[in-house]
Amino acid sequence: TQLLEQSPQFLSIQEGENLTVYCNSSSVFSSLQWYRQEPGEGPVLLVTVVTGGEVKKLKRLTFQFGDARKDSSLHITAAQPGDTGLYLCAGAQRNAGNMLTFGGGTRLMVKP
C-alpha cells in the first residue's frame, strides 16, 4: 500500500479542458510538493505547499494543500499540449528526516 495515493493514474483530455489530480494519504506531511516530468527528463519541481489550507497558483495551475495536511490537489485550467507529462506528488515528513515519499504519479496527455 502506497503512503501517497494519486488519482487518476492516467488522464487523456482535449486541449482546453480542465482537470484535477488528487494526492491522498492517511498520514500528515510537513510539506507537499508537485513535480512534472517530461519523457526522457528528470522531474522538475512545480510548487511546494506547507500550510494546511494553502492555495498556490502558477499560471493555469492551482495547487491546494488540505487543511489537515494529508492531501493535495492540482487543478489545471484550459489544458494545453505542453502540459503533457507525468505529474508526481511527494510528501515530506519531519520525523522521517524530511525524506520525500512519492505518489504513484498521474500520466496526463493533452491532445491538440
Binding site: 510537513s30 510539506s31 513535480y35 526522457g40 528528470g42 511527494a90 524530511n98 525524506m99 505518489g103 504519479g105
Partner: protein, 113 residues
C-alpha cells in the same frame, strides 16, 4: 545552467556486465540521491548520501552500490545487471535548510541486453 548533470544519457550494457552511472552537481548540496524509475512509475529511492554518510533503503538489492568521493560527484555501480534492472536512473540533490526540495538530473536510461 545545468545544475545536476548525469552521464551518460543513455547506457547500454550486457546482462551481468558491471556498469557505472555518474552524477555531478554544481549546487553544493549536501544530500545526493539515486532513484530508479521504471516506465510511467514513480521514482523509487535506492539510497542517499547525507554528506559522506551512506543510507541504503532496506529493499535496495545488494547488486546496487554507490560511491561519493566528494561533494560534487556521486556514482551508481550495478555489479551484475539483470534484465529487470533496465530503467531510468535519476540522480537528485537537496540542500539546507530543510533538504525537502529535490533537484533532479535528466537521468540515465539504462538498457540491459
Amino acid at each position: 545552467d545545468a545544475m545536476v548533470i548525469q552521464n551518460p544519457r543513455y547506457q547500454v550494457t550486457q546482462f551481468g556486465k558491471p556498469v557505472t552511472l555518474s552524477c555531478s552537481q554544481t549546487l553544493n548540496h549536501n544530500v545526493m540521491y539515486w532513484y530508479q524509475q521504471k516506465s510511467s512509475q514513480a521514482p523509487k529511492l535506492l539510497f542517499h548520501y547525507y554528506d559522506k554518510d551512506f543510507n541504503n533503503e532496506a529493499d535496495t538489492p545488494d547488486n546496487f552500490q554507490s560511491r561519493r568521493p566528494n561533494t560534487s560527484f556521486c556514482f551508481l555501480d550495478i555489479r551484475s545487471p539483470g534484465l529487470g534492472d533496465a530503467a531510468m536512473y535519476l540522480c537528485a540533490t537537496s540542500g539546507p535548510p530543510l533538504n525537502e526540495k529535490l533537484f533532479f538530473g535528466s537521468g540515465t536510461q539504462l538498457s540491459v541486453l
